[in-house]
């Protein structure tokens, strides 16, 4: 693994109880001192196919030491940068909002609604980002939709001053629907550069996860191959929007209904601000979401719950394959 190919994997759900040696060889362990405190232990994993990555568990080691609300994302991402990462991959347990999803399925998000309210989303900030108020999102989303082909729009920021949003043609298309516009504005209200956040995920890495996840689905016998990995029964190719809530309390049914109205497909607590911090350091980022249960108020759709080490092992296995594919792409240029 040279520096141009360095991949860091952050483990989410059940990573703290995962026996890493079932999946790869642990050849080195490091704790990185950062301006934001010490990192968790980073372990260098090498697979049978000699894929090497750095791995860290977000929520602790051995037991659930900290809830998503208290993960030190700044120390984690800074440490990834210190280790030379070019790409961060992560897995997250999520609750399904979209009724078509099922517990045990895997999806790859392409957009985020950031509903966190207490987290510091920048290496240079001292305080959490201003709040997102959903009706404000709707109003400003409608404003974007009405302006249609405008190439430059101004929005007052909640924290003061104005954002001038220059929309590229692709972003204009992205802003045509009220829901997707609301997502774009979400980022504006948080005071982030929309050119960075309109597409928060690395597309090459997303595809690598989709391919690796598709292979896992076939290998595990969960889905029959109908058309290669473009299996119509699999949701892994679907565009997915992840809403990140604050926690640690779980969401109410009314909150989930609101998120669904604004276009969210899955809900979790960990992706933000990790994805924004990675963008600040210029690192690629992509995530694998494992549907562990249905969100509040939707348990009647599928009441099962899928937590535990097997979920973490599934996540790491898929991400190691995705890392290998991504590194291969880098070598091929």
């Amino acid at each position: 693994m040279n520096n141009e190919q360095c991949v860091v994997i952050f483990g989410g759900t059940a990573a703290y109880s995962l026996d890493l040696t079932r999946v790869a060889q642990v050849v080195e362990e490091r704790i990185i001192e950062t301006p934001f405190g010490p990192s968790p232990p980073f372990k260098k994993l090498v697979t049978e196919r000699e894929t090497a990555v750095w791995f860290a568990s977000r929520h602790g080691e051995g037991t659930l030491e900290r809830s998503a609300r208290f993960v030190n994302h700044r120390a984690n991402v800074w440490a990834a940068g210190e280790l030379g990462a070019r790409l961060i991959l992560s897995w997250n347990g999520v609750g399904a909002i979209r009724p078509a999803l099922r517990v045990g399925e895997i999806v790859v998000p392409q957009a985020i609604m950031d509903w966190t309210r207490h987290r510091i989303g920048s290496f240079t900030a001292d305080e959490p980002a201003p709040p997102v108020v959903a009706d404000e999102l709707q109003r400003r989303g409608a404003e974007v939709a009405e302006k249609g082909q405008e190439k430059s729009l101004r929005f007052p920021r909640l924290g003061g001053g104005n954002w001038r949003l220059s929309l590229e043609p692709a972003d204009l298309a992205h802003a045509q629907s009220l829901r997707s516009a609301a997502r774009t504005i979400d980022h504006i209200l948080h005071g982030r550069d929309p050119r960075q956040t309109a597409r928060p995920f690395d597309e090459v890495a997303r595809r690598a996860i989709q391919v690796a996840g598709g292979k896992w689905q076939v290998a595990s016998g969960k889905w029959q191959v109908a058309n290669g990995i473009q299996n119509p029964k699999s949701k892994i190719q679907n565009p997915i929007t992840y809403v990140c809530t604050e926690g640690p309390r779980l969401e109410t049914a009314a909150e989930i209904e609101l998120a669904a109205d604004l276009g969210a497909d899955v809900v979790g607590m960990t992706l933000c601000p990790e994805v924004w911090l990675a963008a600040e350091l210029g690192l690629g980022y992509a995530s694998l979401c494992l549907v562990t249960n249905f969100a509040t108020g939707r348990w009647h759709i599928d009441p099962r719950r899928d937590f535990g080490p097997a979920v973490a092992e599934r996540g790491l296995t898929i991400l190691l394959q995705a890392a290998e594919a991504w590194q291969g792409e880098r070598v091929r240029g």
Binding site: H59, G60, T63, L64, E65, R66, S67, R69, F70, W115, R117, H118, P128, P130, P131, V132, V133, A134, D135, Q138, R139, E246, G247, P248, R249, L250, E251, T252, A253, A254, E255, L258, D261, T296, G297, W299
Partner: protein
């Protein structure tokens, strides 16, 4: 005598509470109210200071001085109450109303007692104690839809947008107090009431409709963490768990 119910009065009319209880998050003032069905502790969740002027053009504006929500939940538990009613006095309602759910977008408020351990993932289904909520309804309050909790009340136009979503109750209080009470295994429900409502007789009716022993599962909220030994037997040890 331990109170049957603790009421988080917000904003409270009690300017000089007769009693005070110390908590790790600051003192909480309260008055005891003896009713036929038992005793109620009225905790001062916030008071308005009068004739406060600040730099914006809004002169003589009354600003609420809030109590730390952790202190309120801790005080209710320490006083021995097992049930908590958060009273939101709101000029927007004509009759006492009991929401069936909530949406919270508050910021800058402490949301959990478990700041450095993997606890606090409290399910919100149901979001309020069904037994306590039923007692509030039986006492004469109206059933209402979800309660929206924001840092600041929106202007009229903003309210219209939420009304289109069938959200008609908007307040700045009751969360995260509710989540904190749930972490301490207390029953929790919200009553949104007109500001001038005298609550004594209403509370007496609530007590009449409450079973003596809790029949809900609120007292088992942290049972998994307790049984696994991750939480101490004494709830006082849960606070600020590292």
């Amino acid at each position: 005598m331990m109170p049957v119910v603790a009421v988080l009065d917000n904003p409270s009319k009690i300017q000089n509470p007769k009693s005070k209880i110390a908590t790790p998050f600051g003192p909480v003032g309260y008055d005891r109210l003896a009713l036929a069905g038992g005793e109620v502790a009225i905790l001062v969740a916030a008071v308005h200071v009068s004739r406060f002027t600040f730099h914006t053009p809004i002169a003589n504006h009354q600003l609420p001085i809030p109590t730390d929500p952790r202190a309120l939940a801790y005080a209710a538990k320490a006083l021995g109450a097992e049930r908590v009613i958060a009273l939101a006095r709101d000029t927007g309602v004509e009759r006492p109303s009991v929401p069936d759910d909530f949406i919270e977008f508050t910021t800058g408020r402490p949301t959990t007692f478990f700041t450095a351990m993997g606890a606090g993932y409290v399910q919100q289904d149901p979001p309020f104690c069904p037994e306590l909520r039923q007692a509030l309804l039986a006492a004469g309050a109206e059933a209402a839809g979800p309660l929206l909790i924001l840092d600041e009340l929106p202007p009229a136009a903003g309210r219209d947008g939420w009304a289109a979503r069938s959200i008609n109750l908007i307040t700045t209080v009751t969360q995260p107090e509710g989540a904190l009470c749930r972490e301490l295994e207390l029953c929790f429900a919200v009553l949104v009431a007109p500001p001038e409502m005298v609550i004594q007789s209403f509370l007496a009716a609530v007590l009449e409709n409450l079973p003596a022993e809790r029949g809900c599962t609120c007292g088992e909220t942290m049972a998994l963490a307790r049984r696994s030994g991750r939480l101490a037997a004494d709830w006082r040890g849960w606070v600020g768990q590292d």
